[in-house]
Amino acid sequence: MAISKVNYNSLNVTPSASKFLAWDSDADALAASDIGGSLNLISTQTASSSASLSFTSGIDSTYKEYIFKIINVHPSASNQRLAVNFSVDTGSNYNVTKTTTSFRAAHTEADGTPDFGYVTSQDLAQGTGFQNLFIGAPSSAGNDSSGSGTLHLFDPSNTTFVKHFIFRGSSYQENDAACDSFIAGYGNTTSAIDAVQFKFVSGNIDSGVIKMYGVT
Protein backbone atom coordinates (compact mmCIF):
# COMPACT_ATOMS: atom_id res chain seq x y z
CA MET A 1 0.00 0.00 0.00
CA ALA A 2 1.46 3.33 -0.98
CA ILE A 3 1.98 5.91 1.68
CA SER A 4 0.19 8.95 0.40
CA LYS A 5 0.75 11.44 3.16
CA VAL A 6 3.10 11.97 6.02
CA ASN A 7 2.20 14.50 8.66
CA TYR A 8 4.87 17.07 9.39
CA ASN A 9 4.95 15.84 12.98
CA SER A 10 5.38 12.21 12.01
CA LEU A 11 9.04 12.96 11.56
CA ASN A 12 11.11 12.83 14.69
CA VAL A 13 12.21 16.43 14.25
CA THR A 14 11.10 19.52 16.13
CA PRO A 15 9.52 21.80 13.51
CA SER A 16 11.07 25.22 13.11
CA ALA A 17 9.52 27.80 10.80
CA SER A 18 11.22 28.16 7.41
CA LYS A 19 14.01 25.75 8.31
CA PHE A 20 15.01 22.93 6.00
CA LEU A 21 14.61 19.25 6.72
CA ALA A 22 18.21 18.12 6.55
CA TRP A 23 20.52 15.41 7.77
CA ASP A 24 22.05 16.22 11.13
CA SER A 25 25.78 16.73 11.66
CA ASP A 26 26.32 13.01 12.32
CA ALA A 27 24.37 12.15 9.18
CA ASP A 28 22.45 9.55 11.17
CA ALA A 29 19.16 11.39 11.68
CA LEU A 30 17.10 14.29 10.46
CA ALA A 31 17.12 17.81 11.86
CA ALA A 32 15.65 21.24 11.17
CA SER A 33 18.49 23.25 9.74
CA ASP A 34 19.77 25.94 7.38
CA ILE A 35 21.28 24.45 4.24
CA GLY A 36 22.86 25.80 1.14
CA GLY A 37 22.32 29.51 1.57
CA SER A 38 24.00 31.66 4.13
CA LEU A 39 21.46 34.47 4.30
CA ASN A 40 18.75 33.34 6.70
CA LEU A 41 15.54 35.30 7.06
CA ILE A 42 14.78 35.65 10.77
CA SER A 43 11.98 38.18 10.91
CA THR A 44 9.90 40.45 8.68
CA GLN A 45 8.07 43.47 10.04
CA THR A 46 5.62 45.52 8.03
CA ALA A 47 4.76 49.04 9.12
CA SER A 48 1.27 50.43 8.95
CA SER A 49 1.15 53.82 10.63
CA SER A 50 3.56 52.34 13.18
CA ALA A 51 5.38 54.45 15.75
CA SER A 52 8.38 52.15 15.42
CA LEU A 53 9.52 48.72 14.31
CA SER A 54 11.49 46.79 16.91
CA PHE A 55 13.43 43.55 16.64
CA THR A 56 13.62 42.22 20.19
CA SER A 57 14.29 38.55 19.56
CA GLY A 58 16.62 36.53 17.40
CA ILE A 59 19.64 38.79 17.89
CA ASP A 60 22.18 36.67 19.72
CA SER A 61 25.33 34.66 19.15
CA THR A 62 23.71 32.46 16.49
CA TYR A 63 25.16 34.70 13.79
CA LYS A 64 28.26 36.88 13.55
CA GLU A 65 26.49 39.34 11.27
CA TYR A 66 22.91 40.55 10.98
CA ILE A 67 21.55 42.37 7.94
CA PHE A 68 18.45 44.56 7.98
CA LYS A 69 16.85 45.22 4.61
CA ILE A 70 14.79 48.39 4.71
CA ILE A 71 12.30 48.51 1.86
CA ASN A 72 10.27 51.56 0.88
CA VAL A 73 9.79 53.19 4.26
CA HIS A 74 7.48 56.17 3.94
CA PRO A 75 6.93 58.74 6.72
CA SER A 76 3.62 60.12 7.92
CA ALA A 77 5.21 63.48 8.78
CA SER A 78 6.97 65.82 6.41
CA ASN A 79 10.71 65.74 5.90
CA GLN A 80 11.56 62.97 8.36
CA ARG A 81 14.53 60.65 8.49
CA LEU A 82 14.34 57.01 9.51
CA ALA A 83 16.60 56.43 12.48
CA VAL A 84 18.00 53.45 14.38
CA ASN A 85 19.01 52.70 17.93
CA PHE A 86 20.22 49.66 19.83
CA SER A 87 19.40 48.06 23.15
CA VAL A 88 21.37 45.93 25.60
CA ASP A 89 18.29 45.05 27.68
CA THR A 90 16.04 43.43 25.10
CA GLY A 91 14.29 46.62 24.19
CA SER A 92 13.58 48.16 27.58
CA ASN A 93 15.86 51.04 26.60
CA TYR A 94 17.23 52.08 23.24
CA ASN A 95 20.17 54.23 24.28
CA VAL A 96 23.51 52.67 23.31
CA THR A 97 26.35 55.19 23.06
CA LYS A 98 27.43 55.62 19.44
CA THR A 99 30.13 57.40 17.47
CA THR A 100 29.35 57.58 13.77
CA THR A 101 30.24 59.10 10.41
CA SER A 102 27.83 60.43 7.82
CA PHE A 103 28.19 61.50 4.19
CA ARG A 104 26.05 61.51 1.11
CA ALA A 105 25.77 62.15 -2.60
CA ALA A 106 22.60 63.88 -3.82
CA HIS A 107 21.28 64.99 -7.20
CA THR A 108 18.05 66.82 -7.95
CA GLU A 109 15.57 65.90 -10.67
CA ALA A 110 16.11 69.43 -12.03
CA ASP A 111 19.75 68.48 -12.63
CA GLY A 112 21.12 71.04 -10.18
CA THR A 113 24.68 70.88 -8.96
CA PRO A 114 25.10 67.58 -7.14
CA ASP A 115 25.92 67.60 -3.44
CA PHE A 116 28.70 65.41 -2.16
CA GLY A 117 30.30 65.55 1.21
CA TYR A 118 30.32 64.95 4.92
CA VAL A 119 27.18 66.00 6.81
CA THR A 120 28.19 67.01 10.31
CA SER A 121 24.63 67.41 11.52
CA GLN A 122 23.87 63.74 10.88
CA ASP A 123 26.68 62.07 12.83
CA LEU A 124 26.96 61.25 16.53
CA ALA A 125 29.87 61.68 18.95
CA GLN A 126 29.22 59.38 21.90
CA GLY A 127 25.53 60.13 21.53
CA THR A 128 22.88 57.83 22.99
CA GLY A 129 20.04 59.09 20.81
CA PHE A 130 18.83 57.65 17.53
CA GLN A 131 21.15 57.66 14.52
CA ASN A 132 19.53 59.06 11.38
CA LEU A 133 19.92 56.75 8.39
CA PHE A 134 18.59 58.49 5.28
CA ILE A 135 20.29 61.89 5.10
CA GLY A 136 17.91 62.94 2.33
CA ALA A 137 14.60 62.78 4.19
CA PRO A 138 11.72 61.20 2.27
CA SER A 139 8.61 63.27 1.74
CA SER A 140 5.31 62.47 3.40
CA ALA A 141 3.36 64.37 0.78
CA GLY A 142 4.79 62.55 -2.20
CA ASN A 143 3.09 59.18 -2.24
CA ASP A 144 5.92 57.76 -4.32
CA SER A 145 8.66 59.07 -2.00
CA SER A 146 10.41 56.51 0.17
CA GLY A 147 13.75 55.20 1.35
CA SER A 148 15.36 51.78 0.94
CA GLY A 149 18.68 50.45 2.12
CA THR A 150 20.73 47.93 4.04
CA LEU A 151 22.12 48.00 7.57
CA HIS A 152 24.83 45.55 8.61
CA LEU A 153 25.34 44.90 12.34
CA PHE A 154 28.46 42.92 13.19
CA ASP A 155 28.81 40.45 16.07
CA PRO A 156 26.20 42.05 18.38
CA SER A 157 26.58 39.42 21.11
CA ASN A 158 30.31 39.98 21.52
CA THR A 159 31.20 41.10 25.05
CA THR A 160 34.79 42.10 24.26
CA PHE A 161 34.58 44.56 21.37
CA VAL A 162 32.51 47.59 20.38
CA LYS A 163 29.63 46.88 17.94
CA HIS A 164 30.28 48.05 14.38
CA PHE A 165 27.48 48.83 11.95
CA ILE A 166 27.39 50.04 8.33
CA PHE A 167 24.40 51.50 6.46
CA ARG A 168 23.92 52.54 2.86
CA GLY A 169 20.57 53.67 1.54
CA SER A 170 18.89 55.47 -1.31
CA SER A 171 16.05 57.89 -0.74
CA TYR A 172 13.75 60.10 -2.75
CA GLN A 173 14.13 63.19 -0.65
CA GLU A 174 11.72 66.03 0.04
CA ASN A 175 13.00 68.39 -2.68
CA ASP A 176 12.75 65.82 -5.50
CA ALA A 177 16.29 64.55 -5.38
CA ALA A 178 18.01 61.20 -5.23
CA CYS A 179 20.17 60.83 -2.13
CA ASP A 180 22.73 58.08 -1.50
CA SER A 181 23.47 57.98 2.25
CA PHE A 182 26.47 56.38 3.94
CA ILE A 183 26.38 55.94 7.72
CA ALA A 184 28.82 53.89 9.76
CA GLY A 185 30.08 53.69 13.28
CA TYR A 186 30.06 51.66 16.43
CA GLY A 187 27.96 51.12 19.47
CA ASN A 188 30.56 51.96 22.09
CA THR A 189 29.62 49.19 24.47
CA THR A 190 31.00 45.81 25.39
CA SER A 191 27.56 44.64 26.46
CA ALA A 192 25.71 42.41 24.03
CA ILE A 193 23.23 44.21 21.79
CA ASP A 194 20.03 42.17 21.74
CA ALA A 195 17.43 44.50 20.22
CA VAL A 196 17.24 47.05 17.41
CA GLN A 197 14.58 49.71 16.84
CA PHE A 198 13.75 51.81 13.78
CA LYS A 199 11.54 54.88 13.80
CA PHE A 200 11.12 58.30 12.25
CA VAL A 201 12.30 61.14 14.44
CA SER A 202 8.79 62.57 14.29
CA GLY A 203 5.56 60.92 13.25
CA ASN A 204 4.87 57.34 12.27
CA ILE A 205 6.26 54.93 9.75
CA ASP A 206 3.32 55.22 7.41
CA SER A 207 4.36 52.14 5.46
CA GLY A 208 7.37 50.02 4.72
CA VAL A 209 8.99 46.66 5.36
CA ILE A 210 12.10 45.80 7.34
CA LYS A 211 13.55 42.29 7.12
CA MET A 212 16.20 40.92 9.46
CA TYR A 213 18.60 38.23 8.24
CA GLY A 214 21.31 36.29 9.99
CA VAL A 215 24.42 35.51 7.98
CA THR A 216 25.75 32.02 8.55
Partner: protein, 220 residues
Protein backbone atom coordinates in the same frame (compact mmCIF):
# COMPACT_ATOMS: atom_id res chain seq x y z
CA UNK B 1 5.94 -0.03 13.22
CA UNK B 2 8.45 2.71 12.51
CA UNK B 3 8.59 4.09 9.00
CA UNK B 4 12.14 3.89 7.79
CA UNK B 5 11.83 4.96 4.17
CA UNK B 6 9.73 7.41 2.21
CA UNK B 7 9.31 7.75 -1.51
CA UNK B 8 9.88 11.26 -2.88
CA UNK B 9 6.19 11.46 -3.69
CA UNK B 10 5.09 10.26 -0.29
CA UNK B 11 5.10 13.78 1.08
CA UNK B 12 2.07 16.00 0.61
CA UNK B 13 4.18 18.61 -1.12
CA UNK B 14 4.26 19.56 -4.78
CA UNK B 15 7.71 18.58 -6.05
CA UNK B 16 9.87 21.36 -7.49
CA UNK B 17 13.06 20.40 -9.27
CA UNK B 18 16.24 21.15 -7.33
CA UNK B 19 14.37 22.45 -4.30
CA UNK B 20 14.49 21.01 -0.80
CA UNK B 21 12.04 20.33 1.98
CA UNK B 22 11.47 22.96 4.60
CA UNK B 23 9.03 23.51 7.41
CA UNK B 24 6.45 26.07 6.47
CA UNK B 25 6.14 29.45 8.17
CA UNK B 26 3.61 28.33 10.81
CA UNK B 27 5.32 25.71 11.28
CA UNK B 28 2.64 23.04 10.91
CA UNK B 29 3.57 21.39 7.65
CA UNK B 30 6.18 20.91 4.98
CA UNK B 31 6.80 22.91 1.85
CA UNK B 32 9.39 23.16 -0.88
CA UNK B 33 12.07 25.78 -0.55
CA UNK B 34 15.16 26.79 -2.42
CA UNK B 35 18.52 27.34 -0.83
CA UNK B 36 19.89 30.85 -0.71
CA UNK B 37 22.25 32.24 -3.29
CA UNK B 38 25.10 33.02 -0.89
CA UNK B 39 27.11 29.96 0.11
CA UNK B 40 29.55 29.93 2.99
CA UNK B 41 32.77 28.40 1.67
CA UNK B 42 35.21 28.83 4.51
CA UNK B 43 35.51 30.46 7.94
CA UNK B 44 38.95 31.19 9.33
CA UNK B 45 39.43 32.38 12.89
CA UNK B 46 42.77 34.04 13.38
CA UNK B 47 44.43 34.14 16.78
CA UNK B 48 47.65 36.13 16.91
CA UNK B 49 48.78 35.07 13.43
CA UNK B 50 50.89 36.82 10.80
CA UNK B 51 48.30 36.48 8.03
CA UNK B 52 45.11 34.76 6.91
CA UNK B 53 45.18 33.12 3.48
CA UNK B 54 42.45 31.66 1.30
CA UNK B 55 44.05 29.37 -1.29
CA UNK B 56 41.98 27.54 -3.85
CA UNK B 57 42.12 23.81 -3.22
CA UNK B 58 43.53 24.12 0.29
CA UNK B 59 41.46 23.41 3.39
CA UNK B 60 38.20 23.23 1.42
CA UNK B 61 38.65 26.71 -0.04
CA UNK B 62 37.01 27.25 -3.42
CA UNK B 63 38.29 30.27 -5.36
CA UNK B 64 37.87 29.49 -9.03
CA UNK B 65 35.18 29.58 -11.72
CA UNK B 66 32.58 27.95 -9.47
CA UNK B 67 31.30 31.43 -8.60
CA UNK B 68 31.46 34.74 -10.44
CA UNK B 69 31.40 36.77 -7.25
CA UNK B 70 33.20 36.07 -4.01
CA UNK B 71 32.53 37.94 -0.77
CA UNK B 72 34.83 38.17 2.25
CA UNK B 73 33.41 39.28 5.62
CA UNK B 74 35.67 40.67 8.35
CA UNK B 75 34.41 40.34 11.93
CA UNK B 76 36.18 41.45 15.07
CA UNK B 77 39.55 42.01 13.40
CA UNK B 78 41.87 43.02 16.21
CA UNK B 79 45.57 43.79 15.75
CA UNK B 80 48.27 42.88 18.21
CA UNK B 81 50.04 46.16 17.42
CA UNK B 82 48.46 49.56 17.99
CA UNK B 83 48.13 52.04 15.10
CA UNK B 84 48.52 49.51 12.31
CA UNK B 85 46.27 48.60 9.39
CA UNK B 86 44.73 45.62 7.59
CA UNK B 87 45.82 44.88 4.04
CA UNK B 88 45.01 42.55 1.17
CA UNK B 89 46.97 41.07 -1.70
CA UNK B 90 46.28 38.52 -4.42
CA UNK B 91 48.10 35.57 -5.92
CA UNK B 92 47.99 33.90 -9.33
CA UNK B 93 50.10 30.92 -8.20
CA UNK B 94 48.01 29.60 -5.31
CA UNK B 95 49.81 31.58 -2.68
CA UNK B 96 53.44 31.13 -3.66
CA UNK B 97 53.60 34.87 -4.33
CA UNK B 98 51.22 37.67 -3.39
CA UNK B 99 52.21 40.37 -5.84
CA UNK B 100 49.43 41.12 -8.32
CA UNK B 101 49.71 44.59 -9.86
CA UNK B 102 46.80 46.76 -8.70
CA UNK B 103 45.15 50.07 -9.60
CA UNK B 104 42.98 51.33 -6.77
CA UNK B 105 41.07 54.22 -5.22
CA UNK B 106 40.79 54.95 -1.51
CA UNK B 107 38.55 57.35 0.36
CA UNK B 108 37.37 57.37 3.91
CA UNK B 109 35.18 59.19 6.36
CA UNK B 110 36.00 59.78 10.01
CA UNK B 111 34.59 61.30 13.19
CA UNK B 112 36.15 61.57 16.65
CA UNK B 113 34.36 60.46 19.81
CA UNK B 114 34.79 64.04 21.06
CA UNK B 115 32.75 65.28 18.11
CA UNK B 116 35.52 66.84 16.02
CA UNK B 117 36.85 66.22 12.52
CA UNK B 118 33.78 64.87 10.78
CA UNK B 119 35.04 64.62 7.20
CA UNK B 120 35.07 62.49 4.05
CA UNK B 121 38.20 62.62 1.92
CA UNK B 122 40.28 60.87 -0.70
CA UNK B 123 43.57 59.57 0.74
CA UNK B 124 46.10 59.64 -2.07
CA UNK B 125 48.76 57.89 -0.03
CA UNK B 126 46.61 54.82 0.46
CA UNK B 127 45.83 54.02 -3.17
CA UNK B 128 48.03 52.06 -5.57
CA UNK B 129 49.20 52.86 -9.09
CA UNK B 130 50.15 49.54 -10.60
CA UNK B 131 51.62 48.62 -7.25
CA UNK B 132 52.29 44.99 -6.45
CA UNK B 133 52.46 45.52 -2.69
CA UNK B 134 49.70 45.32 -0.11
CA UNK B 135 46.50 47.34 -0.54
CA UNK B 136 45.26 49.04 2.63
CA UNK B 137 41.70 48.10 3.59
CA UNK B 138 41.61 50.83 6.21
CA UNK B 139 43.73 53.94 6.47
CA UNK B 140 47.40 53.23 7.12
CA UNK B 141 48.50 53.29 10.75
CA UNK B 142 44.92 53.60 11.92
CA UNK B 143 43.69 50.45 13.68
CA UNK B 144 43.49 50.62 17.44
CA UNK B 145 44.59 47.73 19.63
CA UNK B 146 42.74 48.61 22.84
CA UNK B 147 40.90 45.59 24.18
CA UNK B 148 37.53 46.74 22.83
CA UNK B 149 38.77 48.05 19.47
CA UNK B 150 38.34 46.14 16.23
CA UNK B 151 37.48 46.38 12.53
CA UNK B 152 34.56 44.92 10.61
CA UNK B 153 33.52 45.00 6.98
CA UNK B 154 33.40 43.21 3.67
CA UNK B 155 35.22 42.85 0.35
CA UNK B 156 33.87 41.66 -3.00
CA UNK B 157 36.15 39.97 -5.54
CA UNK B 158 34.63 39.61 -9.00
CA UNK B 159 35.28 36.83 -11.45
CA UNK B 160 38.76 35.90 -10.20
CA UNK B 161 39.08 32.97 -12.59
CA UNK B 162 38.66 35.07 -15.74
CA UNK B 163 41.61 34.88 -18.08
CA UNK B 164 40.24 37.70 -20.25
CA UNK B 165 39.55 40.58 -17.89
CA UNK B 166 41.26 42.39 -15.04
CA UNK B 167 40.03 41.43 -11.53
CA UNK B 168 37.82 44.01 -9.85
CA UNK B 169 37.40 44.22 -6.09
CA UNK B 170 35.57 46.57 -3.69
CA UNK B 171 35.76 46.82 0.08
CA UNK B 172 33.99 48.74 2.84
CA UNK B 173 35.38 48.60 6.39
CA UNK B 174 34.56 50.32 9.68
CA UNK B 175 37.07 50.52 12.50
CA UNK B 176 37.87 52.13 15.82
CA UNK B 177 40.94 54.20 15.12
CA UNK B 178 43.83 54.20 17.61
CA UNK B 179 42.96 57.84 18.31
CA UNK B 180 39.39 56.99 19.37
CA UNK B 181 37.49 57.88 16.23
CA UNK B 182 35.39 55.84 13.85
CA UNK B 183 36.68 55.52 10.31
CA UNK B 184 34.86 53.96 7.39
CA UNK B 185 37.09 53.22 4.41
CA UNK B 186 36.04 52.56 0.81
CA UNK B 187 38.54 50.83 -1.45
CA UNK B 188 37.97 49.76 -5.03
CA UNK B 189 40.14 48.82 -7.94
CA UNK B 190 41.38 45.98 -10.03
CA UNK B 191 44.14 43.46 -10.12
CA UNK B 192 45.69 44.35 -13.45
CA UNK B 193 46.20 40.80 -14.62
CA UNK B 194 44.49 38.41 -17.01
CA UNK B 195 45.80 35.45 -15.06
CA UNK B 196 43.32 33.74 -12.74
CA UNK B 197 43.54 34.85 -9.13
CA UNK B 198 43.42 31.75 -6.97
CA UNK B 199 44.53 32.96 -3.54
CA UNK B 200 43.91 35.98 -1.31
CA UNK B 201 45.88 37.04 1.77
CA UNK B 202 44.96 39.42 4.60
CA UNK B 203 47.43 40.72 7.15
CA UNK B 204 48.49 43.72 9.18
CA UNK B 205 51.32 45.97 8.03
CA UNK B 206 52.82 45.58 11.45
CA UNK B 207 52.30 42.80 13.97
CA UNK B 208 49.90 39.90 14.07
CA UNK B 209 46.15 39.80 13.63
CA UNK B 210 43.11 38.27 15.35
CA UNK B 211 39.54 37.87 14.18
CA UNK B 212 37.21 35.98 11.89
CA UNK B 213 37.20 36.11 8.08
CA UNK B 214 34.47 34.32 6.16
CA UNK B 215 34.52 33.57 2.44
CA UNK B 216 31.24 33.23 0.56
CA UNK B 217 30.45 32.37 -3.04
CA UNK B 218 27.48 34.01 -4.72
CA UNK B 219 25.59 31.58 -6.93
CA UNK B 220 25.79 32.38 -10.65
Amino acid sequence: MALTKFEYNSFDVTPVASNGFAFNSTPNGLTTASAGAMTLIKTQTASDVASVEFKHGTSDVVLDGTYDTYLFKFIGMHPETDATDMTVNFSVDTGSNYNVSKMTTFFRTQHYENGTSGVVAYIAGNDLTEGTGEQYLNQDGSMGADNDQCLAGKMYLFNPSSTTFVKHFMSDTIEVNAGDRCREAFVAGYGNTTSAIDAVRFKCSSGNINGTIKLYGVTK
